[in-house]
Symmetry: C2
Subunit: 322 residues, 2 copies
């Protein structure tokens, strides 16, 4: 229900079929002098003097991206900040500064605004990204929009993966989705790691920077591994093969426990669950860093497939399947 | 009904009384290394290498900031882009790039998205500010949030006006508000200049850059001359005296015609009408540029007053009075 129009494809929401048309009309704007990478990646890259600036924006609306019943207001603000900062991680960039625009419904009490600010300040500190200003507006519903500026010597892109590369996973998959489902169903015994991943996701900033110069392509897993693998495949003009055995062995133990509680499968949670803000990268075997786990390979072709333990291939969905 | 919390004061909306508390809690975020100017001005200023970056965000929500009945969708998008870019003009900055976040209600047709994009592209071209990406989300109502990045050698601030300075006006006042009122009342014979100022406001980018090195303080008039004069007075620790005779002679002829149609007073429209995105600056007489008109003076003290033709002083309101 949300799409970056600097992204190649879009979660399956009917009204967003307009996205290609929007991109076309936006190309009639000011000539992008100094813009190294515009619409079509995790963030825009701008050349300014000797700097490479990375620039991205993300919005969270109540009832679309979050429900207050499942999260504290500080959690809501923290997650929304994390979603924007994660685009910097995916580009191998370090944060410079963030701005926030809050939409508040009439009669929003002071305590709500302060709780949101507290979550933003916690995220700002956790990610080393100063919040330098913002805007408050009255609106029909609560919303938080965060614009983030970063810098990177050699920004990572979605394009660049080559046949023969390994697929690397950095961080954890599926836990945030498990945490959401466990919270919704108010289940006891929910693994703390799942609740933490849902409430306080951690963008992989340090790992993203370390991947620059090693990985050939990178994306942050926000729409789910399945959909985001398609983004890299399309941008790079290759086929991504996720290997079931390798992926299963890269999944956290807590995900198995959470899946059992939910009567679900850990692999399925990992494939469709986004918002853990893990990184999916592609690079040559000899350059794989220690913190990255191999979960598949890059081949010639297009699209993204799952190679089952049996050796059979299953096409992966492009977006939300649940 | 909207407030920058990097601004000193706030339009008179009850629920925004939380703004000071929000600023306090946000100061617990990441230390603002390299941040030359944070919460409290038209835009943040960040030092990065040899560059001074100027960074700002602005949001427009339907039914709060605009009504579709009075503006085309392209106008809505153009104005919303202009509001963000005008903060750069006020700082004497040139645009580098913009990002946009669109909130769209369910079932928004493709034609709506394309019309908004067309307005954004027109603004982007008019202001020389490439739109390098963005985000689309489903939301309860239509909204546009624009984050803009600029650069400035010597950013202008609200603080810096000194007793003895002249007050300068760059651009036109009151016409956008007259255009809004004339559109609401569907009045015939509305001056084209008023409708244009309402629908397609022009941030004073070139003049803002030319003011850098001449003016000691500057602000863009978005909340109305009266309220924005208070912002400069407070940030600079001085009193601003707007002179009725000087201000009247600086008002455009079209404003007089519009005021007569509306049964209103041109001076009143000029004092409370924002969103023309004129600039209000303070500087020494010998440095006043040709394009700036003197409308008053800076004195020791605090607050903002109108010196009537009779010589009597009238306190000016801090925000929206209508």
């Amino acid at each position: 229900v949300s799409a970056h129009y600097h992204r190649v494809s879009v979660r399956g929401v009917g009204e967003l079929a307009a996205i290609d048309a929007l991109e076309r009309v936006l190309r009639r704007g000011a000539p992008p002098r100094g813009v190294l990478l515009g619409i079509g990646d995790d963030a825009a890259v701008i050349s300014l003097g000797k700097e490479r600036l990375v620039f991205t924006i993300d919005a969270s609306f109540e009832h679309v991206h979050f429900e207050r019943g499942l999260l504290s207001l500080a959690d809501v603000a923290f997650r929304s900040f994390a979603a924007a900062v994660s685009d910097l991680a995916a580009m191998g960039a370090e944060p410079v500064a963030a701005l926030s625009a809050l939409g508040l419904s009439a009669g929003t009490p002071k305590s709500t605004v302060v709780a949101l600010g507290r979550g933003q300040a916690q995220a700002s500190r956790a990610f080393g990204c100063p919040l330098v200003g913002g805007n408050i507006s009255r609106a029909a519903e609560l919303s938080l929009t965060t614009a983030v500026l970063g810098r990177a010597k050699r920004p990572l892109r979605r394009a660049g993966a080559r046949a023969g590369d390994e697929l690397w996973l950095v961080g954890e998959l599926g836990l945030a989705r498990a945490g959401l489902l466990l919270s919704k169903r108010r289940m006891r015994g929910a693994p703390a790691a799942a609740l933490r991943a849902f409430r306080r996701p951690a963008p992989r900033l340090a790992e993203g920077r370390a991947l620059a110069g090693r990985a050939r392509a990178c994306i942050d897993v926000s729409d789910g591994l399945s959909g985001d693998a398609h983004h890299v495949a399309r941008a790079s003009g290759v086929r991504l093969v996720i290997e079931e055995v390798a992926l299963r062995s890269a999944l956290p133990a807590a995900l198995g426990r959470a899946a059992r509680l939910l009567g679900s499968d850990a692999l399925q949670l990992a494939l469709v669950g986004g918002e853990d803000y893990a990184l999916l990268a592609a690079g040559p075997r000899r350059l794989r860093p220690r913190f990255a786990r191999r979960i598949g390979r890059v081949e010639r072709g297009s699209g993204a497939v799952l190679e089952l333990a049996s050796g059979r291939l299953r096409r992966l969905g492009r977006g939300y399947e649940h």
